[in-house]
Amino acid sequence: MKKMQGEGLSTETGHIDYAGKKMGMWFFLFTEVLFFGGMFLLYSIFRYKYAQDFHAGAAEENIVLGTINTVILLTSSLTIALSIAAIKKGKKISSSCLQLATILMGVAFLVIKYFEWDAKISLGIYPNSPVLLALEKGQILFFGLYYVMTGLHGLHVLVGVVVISFMLHFTKRETINRENYARLENTGLYWHFVDIVWIYLYPLFYLIT
């Protein structure tokens, strides 16, 4: 029996509604919250156990760079939100510019983070280093958490930068447009989530001294 050719699969063209896409994204963000939740749980337990050491550890952090990074990330959340508002009005150019600004700020965040890590590593503070192991137990944990949490957060920033670059590409090709912007909006949600995680990381690592 000969079957219909190629185009037959209904599933390829299956229409998914806007609300469904948004819902899926929110569910994904729930899972992300729990992923980071595991780390925040460890943080709170260890901080409770070694409050003094955490205090001392946080004194080592570079609060200036941390604050600059906070400002950068918060501003980038604004620009991505504005880019969504722009595309809803059909302003392709300004939306693209705002997305580009978000990408640049994401990259700037990572570059600053690199210098921060680099400064610590050159002091000999990194997981399992002799310098670190000579410190108090609570400080070992503090810096362990610092590297793991800011590292995984940085990874999320990196993923976000890549995803927004794709969105920029889609906006340019007009597959993201006035009528069809759910992907950009979901990307925005993700970016806000990354921002929110940082809003918690910043006080927990830089401001608790």
């Binding site: 190629g6 699969l9 299956g14 460890l42 108090e136």
Partner: protein, 540 residues
């Protein structure tokens, strides 16, 4: 090919579409939920058979410790047995296989909400499975930690734990995406008129399971990542010399892995809730209670993880609370059991293979559940913790529960998936062997555990010998049963009679479309005007 009930598209879902030159590419690139489900099913059953063989070898080895495997190999065997059966077979299990094939059909949808993400989770599953298997075959020692990867041993052992842990991490992604997909599908894709309480029970349990998959799996992911970071970078969250705490690992691990038990068992309960009404020709008794109890189990199931750790070091307050909440989980489970039995009451029961397996599920799961209460109680737990009693308990729940329901579903939906009927007589012979073998194999573990035989031990004192021999003999019957069952099914794919559209007289939507399933689920999206099991209304 049969012309009966063939729709306009004219093709079963497995007929070639010729989009790709190679069949395998056509299937791997397909976003059709039915194809993805069937591929999952094949993979799962393959891993299941590998896991069974490993379990069988463990049993054989225990006949006379040392004649088949040395201590190290024995440890590796039970680890790989656990990892395969848990992470590659039973956790993805029912949702990815039967959920994928039947969820959209049962709620009258064309496909899941995100077909491409569905395909992505299948690819992730394959990738994860390959990585896990790499840990066995790559240079170095296979993992020997047990499937739980308990710290600190998992961080210290020279075995390939990192690779296995990464594999499970990837499998976790697959699981999360499937859960996310199904929950969205159920929210957004129900056919017109299909209100929440017109949904069959199986989608309801998939809904509850989807939430558990989304909300529990990330915790496992981060926990496994900590193991990985501990091994590679010496981050010591679980290492006391660096201020960490190995008991934290247990907390984080069970925070996922106890809800994971419900990922395995909830959809199994859904399948039973489909089969029992069909074969007793009655509506599912207490339908709303059955659906709600699925949510109840999912919610309460989050707050019981501590009962895995009663002997690990926890405050008495915490232990009493965990023990109490553990008893609470038994309530919704009991609700389900009573409702299934009430459904059978005064039904016109037709004892075909799917019902036999479903009834065995009810019986075995009850035993598993009740022994769960014994070890959920603090005082008895101290005696039974880490003994064969635990092994017996979880095999009754997972194999007797989830495993049997998968076999039940295989028979129940066999005509719908393959378009053929299996041989009823061989199915029953297989069932008898499996059921008898199962009880000999695992019930003797309760006795052994009661006498004090610790789990995972390579050797044992002579007084346990009889128990081990009986248990091993049970495994022979069990394996013979499985061989008969699967040989029968495989033979029937090719030689079975053509299946009619609705061989069992089912009332749910999959029985209103042709067997085997057509490429397009529905020519027209159905409009639902009544509940899922309308036997009484129709008889009137």
């Amino acid at each position: 090919m049969t012309t009966e009930g063939v729709n306009a598209a004219g093709a079963g879902f497995y007929e070639r579409t010729r989009e790709y030159r190679w069949v395998i590419a056509e299937w791997m690139m397909s976003t059709d939920h039915k194809r993805i489900g069937v591929m999952y099913l094949m993979a799962l059953l393959s891993f299941f058979s590998v896991g069974v063989v490993l379990g069988f070898i463990i049993r054989l080895s225990l006949l006379s410790p040392g004649w088949l495997a040395d201590q190290q190999t024995y440890n590796e065997f039970f680890t790989i047995h656990g990892v395969i059966q848990i992470f590659l077979f039973i956790i993805p299990g029912i949702p990815v296989a039967f959920g994928n094939i039947f969820l959209p059909i049962l709620i009258g949808a064309k496909d899941v909400a995100f077909p491409k993400i569905n395909r992505l989770s299948w690819w992730l599953y394959v990738t994860g499975a390959i990585i896990v298997l790499l840990s066995v075959f790559i240079q170095g020692r296979p993992p020997d930690t047990g499937w739980t990867f308990y710290a600190p041993y998992s961080i210290q052992t020279p075995a390939n734990v990192s690779i296995a842990v990464m594999g499970v991490f990837v499998l976790g992604f697959s699981s999360i995406l499937t859960g996310l997909n199904f929950v969205t599908t159920i929210h957004r894709m129900r056919a017109p008129g299909m209100g929440w309480f017109r949904m069959p029970a199986f989608p309801w349990t998939l809904y509850a399971t989807g939430w558990v998959q989304m909300l529990a799996t990330p915790v496992l992911a981060i926990t496994l990542l900590f193991i990985f970071l501990g091994r590679f970078f010496g981050v010591g969250f679980f290492d006391p010399t660096k201020g960490g705490d190995p008991i934290l690992y247990e907390h984080l691990f069970w925070m996922y892995s106890h809800p994971a038990v419900y990922i395995m068992v909830l959809p199994a309960m859904g399948i039973i809730s489909e089969i029992v009404p069909v074969f007793s020709r009655r509506s599912l008794f207490g339908y709303v209670a059955v659906c709600m109890s699925a949510l109840g189990i999912a919610i309460v199931g989050y707050a019981v993880w501590g009962h895995h750790m009663f002997t690990s070091g926890m405050s008495d307050t915490a232990r009493v609370i965990f023990s109490f909440v553990t008893f609470l989980v038994a309530v919704p489970s009991g609700v389900k059991i009573f409702n299934w039995v009430s459904t059978l009451y005064k039904g016109s029961i037709q004892v075909d293979a799917p019902l036999l397996f479903a009834l065995s599920f009810i019986f075995l799961f009850s035993i598993g559940g009740l022994t769960g209460l014994i070890i959920g109680a603090l005082a008895t737990n101290l005696h039974f913790h880490g003994t064969y009693f635990i092994v017996g308990h979880f095999h009754y729940v997972m194999f007797g529960g989830a495993g049997f329901s998968i076999i039940a579903a295989l028979h129940y939906w066999f005509p719908k998936i393959t378009g053929r009927m299996y041989d009823e007589r061989f199915a029953k012979i297989g069932w008898l062997n499996l059921f008898v073998g199962f009880n000999i194999l695992y019930f003797s573990m309760f006795v052994l555990g009661f006498q004090g035989m610790p789990r995972r031990y390579f050797d044992y004192p002579p007084q346990y010998h009889t128990g081990h021999v009986i248990s091993t003999m049970g495994s022979w019957f069990l394996v013979i049963g499985l061989i008969i069952i699967f040989a029968n099914l495989i033979r029937s794919i090719f030689k079975g009679e053509k299946a009619p559209m609705n061989p069992w007289g089912g009332k749910t939507l999959e029985w209103t479309i042709p067997s085997p399933l057509p490429r397009e689920n529905f020519e027209e999206i159905p409009v639902i005007t009544r509940g899922p099991y309308s036997y009484e209304e129709d008889a009137r």
